[in-house]
Amino acid sequence: MNDNKWTHLCKTSDLVKDSGVCALLENTQVAVFYLSRPEPKIYAVNNYDPIGKANVMSRGIVGCLGDEPVVASPLYKQHFSLLSGQCLEQEGSQITVYPVRVEGDDVQLSIANAK
């Protein structure tokens, strides 16, 4: 993965422990989640809920089902994997997952490597 594809998104101080925030990257709304357990980790997905059809994913509750870290849509409560973006209840529904990393106190995203 090429380093220059990483873009600054926000500061680590903008994140909320075990919850989500939303950041704007050009015209894309990105939901960023900071999970403190089992070890601290950051996930980024597109903020658009494909089932509820609104930009709300960052306001969902995060947790896990089995070993899969998930976010639950705040509208209709479907779970989406934070690893694959796959909806666990509805096959064919998916959200985009972005690679994300922390450099110093910068949270950086790689839109080009989205999956």
């Binding site: 998104l9 926000c10 500061k11 903008d14 909320v16 422990k17 075990d18 919850s19 925030v21 939303c22 950041a23 704007l24 015209n27 894309t28 709304q29 960023v32 999970l35 357990r37 089992p38 597109n46 658009y48 494909p50 509820g52 059809k53 609104a54 930009n55 709300v56 306001r59 969902g60 509750i61 995060v62 947790g63 896990c64 089902l65 089995g66 870290p69 998930v70 639950a72 705040p74 509208l75 409560k77 779970h79 959200i95 985009t96």
Partner: protein, 841 residues
């Protein structure tokens, strides 16, 4: 079906049940109902509740609207005077004629008034219909002392009614004991003592010879033994007699001592005429209970519809269990040990006023009957032994001895499939199992599809055991774990948090859970922590637990925008405050709607607008309305006695007080309340979790009602409470609900699943049966003391306010939220109405 016009004379409980059975089996049945009473069928079994606050409407078993929907041609105040069998026509008092193909007599019975000289005076009354009750009430207003003649089951009910009306009450019984039909002498004595403790004087072995004018009171009753008793009101309840005059006049066969003779299909001596209920005589017996009447109605309905393989009436068990003035009384089968060779075992505990007797067969193998006074806990088990002929244990007395720790309580598994579980609706064990096999997988669905336990409710504990045990056998045991992260139910989690004084989700997860948690356990634990500790919900450690509505203290709408609902306690609002709401809605272009809970909902606020909007609201004196929380929503009220001509209490003040007391209280689900200022009930309190209705003397408290998807009429919990008593009850009920309910369980469902139901809740809250009331009250006191307006706290806290940004790195707004205008207000734009394209992932 043939051309079959069915005319039913009488619309009591059994007559109505017959109509219901006909319609449910043949919706096109052509039915005419002629009733001499001014109203359709009502619940005579619970008639005395009319005096404890139930209205005629609440006692009603049906309504005119239902009958119309069923296309039943019904006529009230239509007393039938003649049946012309040759022409197949009936005539009413007012001269109307009705043709029939089949006729059903469901004329019931009338109270027997002993032929005592002077028994026909103005304040000599009977106890049978709602009109009778109105007459009793009117008479009681000008009376101080009342006498009931007759110490049977109905007589004692009537005595309780007089007591509730505030009369000094006496019961006069001809026999040497009370309830001589159902229980034996020893049981009768104990019952007498208990009833006298409640202030009702019982006079047994008294034959009344005449009723003459009294000196200190209206009447004087003179007894055969020379004694006298002065009273203002006399109520006759000395047994019933069948209403069989119509049958006699048209020469149908009747019994020597009355009653219309019927066969096993409930047909009279004329094959086109049926009789059911208390007017019918089957094998020389009249059944004065409702359950056998219902069985007759079912049999008759099948026969009337000419269904194949119709059932036959084969007699009915007259065992009965009831509460008389708070005293439990049960009678099963051969209570008097009249069977040849029968042997008895008795247990009497005078200090606790408990008496139990079982009657067993000569060989000691079968239970023939039982008497229970003061404690009916063994009733269900004993009844099953008797009805199903189950072989008794070697020492049958262990069934009623309190110290026998190995008391062989009869498990539901031991019952045969034909064992009757609910006698009101004739539901057998097999019926319940079939319902479960057909997909009913919890208690409430079994209840709704079999109707079991929806009559008198006496079988509720038994039914629950049966459902649980059957589900377990099917491998369907309901897993009460809240989710995969905690192997505990909500109630267990509550107890753990309380006992271990746990204050955060992470602490609980470390000690008792696994994984990260999820959107099921997090909000549930967040709610428990809030109910118990009442911390600020957006505190750092609690924030990740909250559903989005709690996180942003507003209600998310389908497009991601929010609605705002300020608290308007009791629905009372000044003009100035209304103007503030209007100006605010105008300024932010919010859609406004009046809610069902008497407040104003403002829609279409963007996340980042919420703090500014709330700053203005709080400046104007508003507080958060918790419309977003699983917590108290509103206390609706009518205008009460300050303005209303009919009001008897100040419902608005009470509603405001309650709303301010319980605002912010987090619960398993939302809680709605209402207060009505009189019995007209304009605030619709009986559809609320907590409903309060004013009476002349105070407040009647209703609990566990619900509107919405599954409406439930609230239960009358207590009557004529003063302000303090009312609040004490509500405090305890709410906290007990919070502690014991499942996650997202409204009070209505909680009550339906509460073992022991209303009576159990009354025991816990009124009698402090569990000894927890002090704790429940201090818990509520803590919540009331630590109340804070969450919006006020949030506005004072810059860290919390940071959450109210659409984007952490930009001041732009969400372009996905767009509006169109409908009826001069905003409305969310549909996908194809949006002017800017929204990027989709």
């Amino acid at each position: 079906m043939k051309n079959n016009r069915i005319v039913v004379i009488g619309n009591g409980m059994v007559g109505h049940h017959l109509v219901e059975s006909l319609i449910s089996q043949e919706p096109k049945a052509r039915i005419t109902v002629l009733s001499s009473e001014p109203r359709l069928a009502y619940d005579r079994v619970h008639l005395s509740e009319y005096f404890s606050g139930k209205s005629a409407e609440e006692l009603a078993l049906t309504s005119e609207a239902t009958y119309k929907q069923w296309q039943v041609d019904f006529h009230c105040n239509a007393k039938v005077t003649d049946i012309k069998r040759d022409d197949k026509v009936v005539l009413t008092e007012s001269g109307q004629q009705y043709d029939y193909d089949r006729l059903v007599l469901a004329t019931g019975s009338y109270p027997f008034v002993p032929p005592i000289p002077g028994n026909d005076q103005a304040h000599c009354l009977v106890y049978r219909t709602i009109d009778d009750l109105d007459a009793i009430q009117a008479s009681a207003e000008n009376s101080r002392v009342g006498v009931v003649v007759g110490g049977g089951l109905l007589g004692l009910e009537a005595a309780n009614a007089l007591r509730q009306l505030g009369l000094q009450t006496h019961v006069v019984e001809f026999a040497p004991q009370l309830m001589a039909v159902q229980i034996d002498g020893a049981g009768g004595n104990l019952l007498k003592n208990k009833i006298e403790e409640l202030g009702v004087q019982v006079h047994c072995s008294k034959a009344t010879e005449c009723i003459v004018p009294g000196e200190g009171h209206r009447y004087k009753m003179c007894f055969a033994d020379g004694e006298t008793l002065e009273t203002d009101l006399i109520l006759f309840s000395a047994g019933i007699r069948p209403h069989d005059e119509l049958a006699r006049n048209c020469d149908l066969q009747v019994g020597e001592r009355g009653g219309i003779v019927i066969d096993n299909y409930c047909r009279t001596s004329d094959a086109d005429i049926y009789a059911v209920g208390e007017c019918a005589l089957w094998e020389q017996r009249i059944y004065g209970l409702v359950a056998p009447g219902y069985q007759m109605a079912k049999v008759a309905a099948k026969s009337l519809l000419e269904q194949e393989g119709g059932e036959q009436f084969s007699g009915a068990d007259m065992s009965t269990k009831l509460k008389l003035m708070g005293v439990d009384v049960g009678s099963i089968g051969d209570a008097h040990a009249k069977t040849p060779g029968a042997m008895s075992y008795t247990y009497e505990n005078q200090p606790l006023a408990i008496y139990k007797k079982i009657v067993v067969s000569e060989d000691g193998k079968n239970l023939l009957g039982a008497v229970l006074v003061g404690d009916c806990s063994e009733y269900d088990t004993l009844l099953q032994y008797m009805l199903n002929g189950i072989e008794l244990p070697d020492a049958p007395e262990t069934l009623i001895l309190p110290m026998a720790t190995e008391a062989p309580s009869l498990g539901v598994d031991a019952l045969p499939d034909m064992a009757s579980i609910c006698s009101c609706h004739n539901v057998s064990k097999g019926d319940v199992i079939a319902a479960i096999d057909n997909g009913a997988c919890d208690l409430s669905s079994v209840k709704s599809c079999t109707k079991a336990s929806t009559g008198c409710g006496g079988c509720s504990a038994l039914l629950k055991n049966l459902v649980d045990s059957t589900l377990e056998q099917r491998g369907l045991e309901v897993n009460t774990d809240i989710c995969e992260h905690f192997a505990y139910s909500r109630q267990e989690l509550y107890d753990i948090i309380r006992a271990e004084r746990i204050r955060s989700f992470d602490d609980l997860l470390d000690r008792h859970g696994k994984g990260l948690g999820c959107d099921t356990c997090k909000p549930a634990v967040g709610s428990i922590l809030a109910s118990h500790w009442n911390d600020y919900v957006l505190k750092e450690e609690h924030l990740p637990l909250q559903d989005t509505n709690d996180t942003y203290l507003a209600n998310m709408q389908k497009d991601g925008s929010y609605s705002v609902v300020p608290r308007v306690p009791g629905g009372e609002i000044t003009a100035d405050k209304l103007i503030v709401l209007g100006q605010l809605a105008k300024k932010y272009d919010l859609y406004t709607k009046i809610t069902g809970g008497q407040r104003v909902d403002l829609f279409g606020a963007r996340l980042e607008q919420l703090p500014e909007i709330w700053a203005e609201l709080i400046d104007a004196g508003f507080e958060t309305g918790h419309a977003y929380g699983k917590s108290l929503r509103t206390v609706k009220s009518c205008v009460g006695d300050s303005w209303c001509r009919y009001g008897v209490q100040d419902s608005v003040s009470m509603a405001i007080f309650l709303e301010n007391r319980y605002k912010g209280l987090r619960a398993p689900h939302k809680i709605k309340m209402a207060v009505s200022g009189c019995t007209r009930e304009c605030a619709e309190a009986q559809s609320k979790d907590i409903g309060v209705i004013a009476t002349e003397n105070g407040w009647n408290l209703y609990v566990c009602g619900n509107g919405g998807m599954r409406p439930r009429h609230a239960d009358l919990f207590a009557t004529d409470l003063d302000d303090e008593g009312l609040i004490r009850c509500i405090d305890r009920i709410l906290m007990f609900y919070i502690r014991t309910a499942d996650r997202l369980q409204r009070t209505s469902v909680w009550m339906e699943n509460l073992e022991g139901g209303l009576e159990y809740l009354q025991k816990v809250v009124i009698d402090d049966h569990l000894g927890v009331c002090h704790e429940l009250e201090s818990q509520i006191a803590h919540i009331v003391e630590s109340y804070q307006c969450e919006w006020k706290t949030t506005l004072e806290n810059p860290e919390s306010l940071k959450r109210f940004r659409q984007f952490v790195n930009s001041d732009e707004s969400d372009e996905g939220i767009q509006f169109i205008r409908v009826r001069d207000q905003i409305s969310p734009a549909g996908e194809n109405q949006k002017t800017k394209t929204v990027e989709m992932a």
